[in-house]
């Protein structure tokens, strides 16, 4: 279960965005779910850089096109989990 330390170990957090967000006009819960496998899991082919080498400001640019902003992000050994503004 989650412990309070999880409030202090973000890899990234946008406090300004967090304080300004307002969900009064939210009305559409159902999501659009996109999953892209560029290579198979346990990929034996491609060495070198991975998706996780894409910098945060690049993700922020890409997500702007989706009309989302990055609220916070947690990094683990195998994935980066972004919480977004919508």
């Amino acid at each position: 279960t989650v412990t309070i330390k999880e409030l202090t170990n973000h890899s990234y957090i946008d406090h300004e965005l967090s304080a300004s967000l307002d969900s009064t006009d939210a009305f559409e819960g159902p999501e659009k779910l996109l999953e892209i496998w560029f290579f198979p899991p346990n990929n034996a082919v491609s060495a070198g850089k991975t998706l996780r080498d894409i910098a945060m400001d690049r993700w922020i640019e890409i997500l702007k096109l989706v009309k989302c902003e990055v609220l916070s992000m947690k990094k683990t050994k195998e994935l980066d989990a972004f919480l977004l503004s919508e």
């Binding site: 279960t1 989650v2 309070i4 999880e6 409030l7 202090t8 973000h10 957090i13 406090h15 967090s18 967000l21 307002d22 969900s23 009064t24 939210a26 009305f27 559409e28 819960g29 159902p30 999501e31 659009k32 779910l33 996109l34 999953e35 892209i36 560029f38 290579f39 198979p40 899991p41 346990n42 990929n43 034996a44 082919v45 491609s46 070198g48 850089k49 991975t50 998706l51 996780r52 080498d53 894409i54 993700w59 890409i62 997500l63 096109l65 989706v66 009309k67 609220l71 916070s72 947690k74 683990t76 195998e78 994935l79 980066d80 989990a81 972004f82 919480l83 977004l84 503004s85 919508e86």
Partner: protein, 309 residues
């Protein structure tokens, strides 16, 4: 909304009037420029990737969506501009405008797979719930002047603090066995409570598996979604299955109606076999639809249920 980025895979899940597919152009530019990946392309310039899924339930207010997201056919046309070998499915009843849509590409087997990949335990379980019980929905309303423990450390803030408190109050961090007594798996949590209402959270188990929850509690269009790629049976050493997971979620939200989808590569798995009859363990709900698709190397199970009156 959430984004999960792995070495070679990403999952982007966005709600509201977001324009999810409009990220594709920039995403591919970024990948080709920054990662120097030379992605497979067909002669007519379409990407031939290992696998692509895009899915969504019918919207509650489709005409309020932006651009191509106003209707499924336009989304499919847009996806087909990028990807080779995509197929589109409408799953469930079309007459009720609450069916589920899926776009999936044929797996590109031209890229050699490492041996252990074949036995990959990839599965995705999604539960989409509408007309939440009002008392349950209210747990995700924090109101404009909710006091919370003031940020104690410089990188804490109110939205995340409230999100943490919502997680603890609703026990959404206890869906999968992960307390220190019964598991030594790592568990990471990130949650945010929106003002005046709403909740989003990402949980990561064992560094590589996630589940994510998004709640829009407003009366009239209340909604909650749960999505997980956790292979529950294996990860709990047989102590838990997807029925346990589903019962925990239904208890938190008590929806009047919900759909669930379960993707697996291995339809002989205990998880898949168990889920085929899962409605028999839900006496409060009546089964509306039960559909199984054989999608080349994945099996898809879809079920829609409604609370008995």
């Amino acid at each position: 909304s959430s984004l999960f980025v792995f070495d070679y895979k990403l999952t982007l899940k966005t709600c509201g009037t977001t324009t999810t597919l409009f990220c594709l152009d920039k995403l591919f530019q970024t990948i080709e420029q920054e990662l120097s990946w030379n992605l497979h392309k067909t002669p007519d310039g379409k990407y031939k990737l290992f696998k692509v899924f895009y899915s969504r339930r019918c919207f509650l207010f489709p005409c309020k969506q932006a651009a191509i997201h106003q209707n499924w056919a336009d989304e499919v046309d847009y996806l087909n501009r990028f990807f080779d070998n995509g197929k589109s499915y409408s799953v469930g009843r079309n007459d009720k405008s609450n069916h589920w849509n899926l776009y999936v590409t044929e797996t590109d087997h031209s890229v050699p797979q490492a041996k252990e990949c074949i036995e990959d335990d990839d599965e995705t379980f999604e539960v989409l719930m509408t007309e939440l019980d009002p008392d349950c929905a209210n747990k995700f309303v924090c109101g404009p002047d909710t006091s919370t423990s003031a940020p104690a450390e410089p990188n804490e803030d109110k939205g995340h603090n409230l999100g943490y408190e919502m997680t603890k109050k609703t026990k959404l961090d206890e869906i999968y066995l992960n307390s220190s007594q019964d598991s030594n798996l790592s568990f990471h949590h990130d949650a945010f409570a929106f003002t005046p209402c709403g909740y989003s959270s990402n949980m990561v188990l064992d560094e590589k598996y996630y589940y994510t929850l998004h709640v829009t509690p407003e009366k009239g269009w209340s909604y909650a979604s749960f999505e997980s790629n956790i292979p529950v049976f294996d990860i709990s050493q047989g102590k838990q299955d997807n029925l346990n997971v589903l019962l925990h979620i239904l208890n938190v939200f008590q929806p009047r109606e919900f759909s669930m989808t379960f993707f697996t590569k291995n339809f002989k798995s205990k998880s898949f076999q168990k889920i085929l009859t899962i409605n028999e363990s839900l006496p409060e709900y009546t089964k509306l639809d039960k559909i199984i698709y054989d999608l080349d190397d994945y099996h898809l199970f879809y079920m829609k249920l409604q609370k008995k009156i």
